[in-house]
């Protein structure tokens, strides 16, 4: 058993590609080992900005010897058949023996394969693996034709400490690598993974991205704490910066206090987006401090003074731009910006944002009836909701759309609830994003999303397969979440209903609900109200968890099957009036009295949308139905009795159909 260790050393790999590259390398190498029939131990993969590497433990140094017998055609079979067999088995006739099987003689090939050396397998597989490596974007360099994410400088490939040589253009394959580009750039040789990791560390490279992330967090927190400050530990930024450095060093910088006049998120986004630096809180005030943390890749000779100074200079310049935008944007009121939305195309076939705002306003006014939002304020919010798109700030930092609308609105003294709606009307943007609580915001959000969906539906730009360039699925999910979480009763437009049913199934599935229950509810006519659908599905799910539920389902299905079978023979056309005189057996009498008692209760409960009560009334039918099917033969020879019994089943089916189509439920 041996250790396989591979390093692919290159110029700087984009941070966002490193994790996938690690996974791809593991998958591809373990793939060709498995194909060769090798079993192996634990896999570890690592990436830094300048390398991806892989260690696999307990790799056998060769594949096992194979001895195999393969039965061929009968002795005396046509020559062609024998030739074909020999070709397939890769043997000559001399290497075959004749064997008697069940009294007949057959040619049997004895195939012996000596195990192949793992080093040979690796050497044969690696060049192709490298040439076909699935980088999202790759390039050529120098005079070669090889593609890699950036120029590939060298390769280590060691099995059991020995170099596995192979040719891949002019890239050297051996046992050596380099350390940190600026601190320790000499080439050195390694014997195995442990040696590699230790020597890299000595050469200022922390191999493990998770370790670098932990260092970034710990160091950044430490330098903040030393000044009584608190780091905003932005997880995605930590992950990104861990992919930008081989040796993280956190540095605390500061900027002028007056920049703090600018809204907080502007500062945070400016510092993060442009500079990949962290913002810092002053715990005494709970507000942003005039400090930031930069993660450098250097233990600088001067302790990082120059680096800090440089970062401060850039951040100061960025913040002065932001402050300038904030100050100048405020000079024009949001209401006065609306005209400019005519210049912003929403979609070539759907017109400008200006036209959209008009359409959203109409929708919002209509929707406010259902959401109970203040109509006047809602209309104002719609008018202003896209105005920040034509501010300098949002031009510069598009991720602040909405938030800036709120900030500018507050600055000009617009009602706080309306201002908040400007920020929240994009929500919820993803499954983890909160649904607005502000009634105006959620009304505008619904109107905006419905407008988007109806618009793209009108020009037949619906999502297909994995393609959803206008994020229409996200818009529909947003509507579903708002409506369900805030219990807003409205009817989904008929055109959009099939799309919503699909989305709702995905949503319910994520919530752990059964898709067949959703089908059962949507099988009913006119299910356009998502809140009601959810109530029905939830009540059904609860009911089916009980014994009564499971048994009743079986009974109802049986009733349904009988009705369907009869209907096929001769379409059933009858009223629901039972002739009591024709009820002969106790079981059918009992069922009838249970129906008389409970169907009314069920209908009343459904009308009140109290599905739990409807279900418990339905549950009362379980025992009589069970007995009915045990004791009563529906197909009585007397046609009138038969019809009367079918009517009983029909009434039950009709009653259950006020809740769902039980025949669609599995089990």
């Amino acid at each position: 058993m041996a250790e396989l260790f591979i390093e692919l050393f290159s110029e700087e790999i984009p941070s966002r590609m490193q994790n996938a590259a690690k996974a791809d390398l593991s998958r591809l190498v373990s793939g060709f080992l498995k194909t060769a029939g090798l079993k192996f131990g634990a896999i570890e993969a690592y990436a830094t900005p300048r390398r991806i590497c892989l260690k696999i433990a307990d790799v056998p140094t060769s594949t096992p010897d194979i001895k195999e017998q393969r039965k061929g055609p009968q002795v005396g079979a046509p020559e062609k058949a024998i030739e074909g067999f020999l070709r397939g088995a890769g043997v000559t006739l001399n290497e075959c023996v004749e064997q008697e099987i069940k009294g007949k003689k057959f040619h049997v090939a004895i195939i012996e394969k000596v195990g192949q050396s793992t080093a040979d397998i690796i050497a044969a597989a690696m060049p192709e693996l490298i040439r076909k490596f699935p980088w999202p974007k790759s390039m050529r360099w120098g005079t070669g034709s090889l593609r890699w994410v950036r120029p590939l400088q060298s390769i280590i490939c060691l099995l059991d400490g020995k170099i596995v040589p192979f040719e891949i253009e002019n890239v050297p394959v051996g046992d050596s690598t380099q350390g940190h580009l600026f601190m320790n750039n000499d080439r050195f040789s390694v014997t195995d993974f442990a040696d590699y990791k230790a020597k890299l560390l000595a050469a200022n490279v922390v191999l493990d991205g998770a370790e670098r992330a932990a260092m970034i967090l710990a160091e950044a927190q430490e330098i903040c704490a030393a000044k009584g400050l608190e780091l905003i530990d932005d997880k995605s930024l930590i992950a990104e910066t861990a992919g930008l450095v081989e040796w993280p060093v956190a540095l605390l910088g500061e900027f002028e206090v007056e920049f703090l006049d600018v809204p907080e998120r502007v500062i945070i986004e400016t510092i993060k987006g442009h500079q990949k630096c962290f913002s810092v809180i002053d715990p005494k005030t709970g507000k942003l401090s005039h400090h930031f943390v930069a993660i450098s890749n250097m233990i600088a000779g001067d302790g990082g003074k120059i680096i800090t100074h440089g970062n401060e200079k850039v951040i100061r310049a960025r913040l002065s731009d932001a402050k300038y935008f904030w100050e100048t944007d405020k000079k024009i009121k949001l209401a006065d910006r609306i005209e400019k939305l005519k210049n912003i195309t929403f979609h070539a076939k759907l017109g400008s944002q200006f036209e959209r705002v008009g359409a959203i306003k109409e929708l919002a006014e209509m929707l406010s009836e259902f959401t109970k939002a203040d109509v006047k304020k809602t209309k104002l919010a719609v008018e202003l909701c896209k105005a920040d798109l034509v501010t300098h700030m949002v031009g510069e930092l598009p991720e602040l759309q909405g938030y800036m609308g709120q900030q500018y609105a507050l600055a000009e003294g617009i009602d706080a609830e309306v201002a908040e709606a400007l920020a929240q009307h994009y929500a919820p943007q993803g499954p983890s994003d909160a649904v607005p609580t502000n009634l105006i915001a959620l009304t505008v959000s619904l109107a905006d999303k419905f407008n988007t969906l109806l618009g793209f539906w009108s020009i037949d730009e619906k999502p297909t397969g994995s393609k959803d360039p206008f994020a229409l699925r996200r818009a529909a999910l947003g509507i579903i979440r708002i409506v369900l979480e805030r219990q807003i009763r409205l009817d989904i437009p008929q055109d959009l209903l099939p799309f919503f049913i699909d989305r709702l199934k995905v949503y319910f599935k994520d919530q752990g609900m059964r898709h067949d229950l959703i089908d059962a509810v949507f099988a009913l006519e006119g299910q356009n109200d998502i809140v009601l659908v959810e109530k029905r599905v939830a009540a059904l799910a609860d009911f089916l968890k009980t014994d009564d539920g499971v048994n009743l389902l079986a009974g109802i299905k049986r009733a349904n099957n009988i009705l369907q079978a009869e209907d096929k023979k001769q379409p059933l056309e009858f009223d629901s009036i039972i002739d009591k005189q024709l009820l002969v057996l106790d079981a059918e009498k009992d069922l009838f009295s249970a129906i008389e008692k409970n169907v009314k209760i069920i209908n009343e409960a459904v009308a009140k949308e109290d599905f739990a009560a409807a279900m418990s009334a339905l549950a009362k039918l379980r025992a009589p139905i069970d007995t009915f099917f045990e004791d009563v033969k529906v197909n009585d020879d007397d046609a009138d009795i038969r019809i009367n019994r079918l009517k009983l089943l029909f009434i039950i089916r009709t009653a259950t159909k006020t809740i769902a189509d039980f025949s669609r439920i599995e089990g």
Binding site: E12, K137, R140, L181, N297, A300, G310, N311
Partner: protein, 319 residues
């Protein structure tokens, strides 16, 4: 380590003088073996437009050159009022074909020559891919950060005019004003010391360019005659096409030179005129795409033609 500049007089040191920084870069790359060229004598948006980059990146021949190129971005004019933005600025451009294995190290060394020493600075190669829709060209590379500041663009050319670049050209573009502001410790570009002298002998960047920024900003944004610009655009386009067509036939004088470079100059001209029209705000979003497409069609024709010329097609014999 920083190169020891102590033998150089104060005013000639790259960290004290804008012009000395340019000269230091020229000297560094001259020492490496580059042809040091002078700026192309036309208005261009970036050093890449110089035929020494874009044309030489095509075809089989090796090439090494470095030059300073004044670059014009009419929309970036700020009437001399913004400390960082200019409608006319310099790029120092280095092209190495094929890109050498140690190109990153060479670049880092060149920074040390102008006063950015790797032991005390944080130099980073941050993903930034380059694409020029008008040139039909793209490459992968990085923007280079020094202490958080973007100071250079580093690109491995992959395609120009739809042709694969082979060998691949490595392109380094230094933002000279940025770098000089950083090493001189100046926050406003106009305060840069241009000639390295002090007191009354000092010439600042503002002394050289401030008035020009004011005048050009006014012209670019307010005065430039859009009808004339559009006409000139169309003329340049026609002329470019005519040159390409004429190149197909033999000259009555007996030569059959393909006129790729003259055609390309008309393409550059069209590109600049488009930038001027854009600054005047007369091009709508949809028209913008159409104009870009027209310039790209021209540059494609020029690239096609260049591939038929000796420099574009014949591999020079090793001497």
């Amino acid at each position: 380590m920083t190169s020891d500049n102590s033998h150089i007089p104060e005013h000639m040191r790259p960290e004290n003088s804008f012009q000395a920084m340019i000269m230091a870069l020229q000297n560094f790359w001259a020492d490496y073996g580059c042809a040091i060229l002078q700026p192309y004598d036309m208005e261009v948006g970036a050093g890449t437009f110089h035929p020494a980059t874009i044309m030489r990146a095509l075809g089989p021949n090796d090439w090494k050159a470095a030059y300073i190129q004044p670059s014009r971005r009419p929309s970036d004019g700020r009437y001399g009022e913004n400390p960082n933005r200019l409608q006319h600025f310099y790029q120092f451009q280095v092209v190495l074909k094929p890109s050498p294995k140690d190109i990153q190290e060479l670049y880092i060394k060149s920074l040390s020559v102008i006063g950015i020493d790797k032991a005390n600075h944080d130099i980073r190669f941050v993903e930034d891919d380059w694409e020029s829709p008008t040139l039909g060209a793209w490459g992968l590379g990085w923007e280079v950060w020094v202490d958080g500041m973007e100071v250079s663009q580093f690109t491995y050319f992959q395609q120009v005019g739809g042709y694969d670049c082979s060998p691949v050209t490595g392109e380094l573009t230094y933002g000279v004003e940025r770098l000089a502001m950083y090493v001189q410790g100046v926050d406003n570009v106009y305060d840069l010391n241009y000639n390295g002298r002090q007191d009354t002998d000092k010439i600042s960047y503002g002394d050289v360019f401030h008035q020009a920024e004011q005048e050009h900003s006014r012209y670019n944004f307010e005065v430039a005659d859009t009808d004339i610009l559009m006409r000139h655009f169309e003329d340049a386009e026609k002329e470019c096409q005519a040159i390409v067509e004429a190149s197909a036939a033999k000259s009555p004088l007996g030569n059959d030179y393909k006129m790729a470079l003259p055609a390309y100059e008309k393409c550059i001209k069209a590109s600049h005129l488009f930038n001027m029209l854009d600054a005047r705000g007369v091009i709508s979003v949809t028209e913008r795409q159409a104009y870009i497409g027209r310039v790209r069609a021209l540059s494609k024709k020029c690239a096609d033609l260049w591939m038929e010329t000796p420099l574009g097609s014949l591999k020079k014999e090793a001497k």
